[in-house]
Amino acid sequence: MLGPRLLLTFFALTALLAANIAASTVFVYYTASASLVPQRPEVILAEPNSPNVSVTLGPALASASVVVYTSNFAQLVYNPDFFSSPDGWYCAPSASLTCYWLPGDQGASGGVISIESNTSIVFDESAFILQEVTVPNTNIVRVIVNVTLRGDWAFSPTPPMVYEVGLWDPQSSAWAWLVYDFPSTQYTSYTWDITPYLEPGRRYILAIGMYVVAGVWPALYVDSAYLSIETSSYVFSQPILAANVTSDRVLYARLKLEALSVNPSLNASIWLVNSTAHESSRITIRNGFPTSWETSWIAVSPPIAGYYAALIQANASKASPTNSSVSLVLEYCTLPQGMGACVSYPVTLIIDPRTALPHHSGSQEPPGIQAWRGGTTRH
């Protein structure tokens, strides 16, 4: 009787074992390892030394906090004294008249620019010194021009010349604004409100010169020149950060917008410019909302001495000097289009912190031509 029972028990156990074997899971193990061999940073950040910009860099120059101050006042031309050079002014000479830089003149505050002839004028002529001016593309409240000059002439008791100050509009090839009058032989400061004559966003040429009748030996001396502009919005346009490559090879960089907390009226653009003036596309913010979150990639390489591999450029305008903050990432890679090794540095941009410095600073030279063209320097 026990034999069949034992047999049944055996078959039951065997079936249970077989079921367990069928239900078991097979796991296959592979091993992987990651080893880190750290390197010093191949790109380091630097201060661009821009006015109205304050930069705090991390200890390894791999992060930055940038504070910028917008202003509703800007000096587009700021030459209180031609101290050591014509300071970027062009010369538009005539047949007999040309331009000189002088280290001083009686009654002048320092260096001056003169327009004069070495001989008596045969025909009526005019000549000018010129400076480019780009009006901000925002509502303009007031534009003021101020010039200090004097005239000098011989062989005539009355002035045989007039000074001329005007804004030439290259687009229409006409004067947008022009004044002229007899000059004094003593340095005299003249101020004009030219607000009605300018349009936002347009480029003009500020011209200071003279018109001379034939038969005289004239000269015009310019001691200072200003063109200041007040806008209804608060504006900023400067490099906010610089970057240098510490190796000897080309890298590829872009900017990304990570987060922002901004004034609803803020319009801003942020982009990269490399040492060969190649620009990336722009991160853009319109009325407080980002419309583009990243720039295109541009190549950055070790620059020649005195230059940066790349600059982060920003412009901004808004209705009031209230606080905004933007979190950016500067990303650089060893290969184009985000391949190879890619390193990200955090960059925080703060616009007009609540402890903002006073506005109306405006002490920068206007951007423009840095060569003295068409004239000579006379000492």
Binding site: V28, A34, S35, V37, R40, A62, G340
Partner: protein, 197 residues
């Protein structure tokens, strides 16, 4: 005397019976059935492969070194990060060459990266549409994540290293005392509820 003989016979009988009982009690019964185990090898359905960014330029002229075993069953990465976040896209690929069956793949940290200057060390797994499938924290001991690798699919593996700038210098590399991590890739047939031992 006869009863004495009978008593002795009885004692002897009891003794013999006791010995016999002890012998029976200590005896083992062995029952033998025959079975066989045969090993039949096959190609692995899941294997590792160098990614498109493997052995490409790393920082300062170094190379993103990726070594995969000849059978695709092991991988070794050597990376050269710096301060900030250094990201290595598609250094490794996980391939399912089984076009019929999906597999569940586990990533498990077996030796975490414990250097305090490393703020973060992560492995990301993406599918072909760059949708994130898994994130493995290389700093967490025994951390385990999983994802399903569909039949015939290839997933890519990225590595992100974040090194703190605190105490750093632009002219010297970050100082790391433990710059290594190890992790296992474990796979099994999809659908099971068991986790790997």
């Amino acid at each position: 005397m006869a009863w004495i003989k009978n008593v002795n016979k009885a004692k002897m009988g009891i003794l013999l019976l006791s010995v016999l009982m002890l012998t029976v009690a200590n005896a083992s019964v062995f029952v033998y059935y025959t079975s066989s185990l045969s090993l039949q090898t096959s190609q692995p359905p899941v294997y590792l492969k160098e990614g498109s960014n493997a052995n490409q330029p790393d920082l300062f002229g170094n190379t993103i070194t990726v070594t995969v075993g000849s059978a695709g069953a092991s991988a070794s990465l050597t990376l050269h990060p710096t301060y900030g976040k250094t990201y290595y896209k598609n250094v490794l690929e996980v391939v399912n060459q089984d076009t019929t069956n999906a597999y569940t793949v586990y990533l498990r940290v077996t030796d975490p990266l414990s250097d305090t200057n490393v703020a973060s060390a992560k492995v990301y797994v993406y599918d072909a549409t760059r949708t994130l499938q898994a994130t493995l924290d290389l700093q967490a001991s025994n951390n385990q994540v999983s994802f399903t690798l569909p039949a015939g699919a290839t997933y890519t593996v990225d590595v992100e290293i974040v090194i703190s700038e605190n105490g750093g210098s632009p002219v010297s590399p970050p100082s790391l005392t433990d710059g290594q991590a190890q992790f296992d890739l474990i796979y099994t047939a999809a659908g099971t509820t068991e986790t790997p031992p």
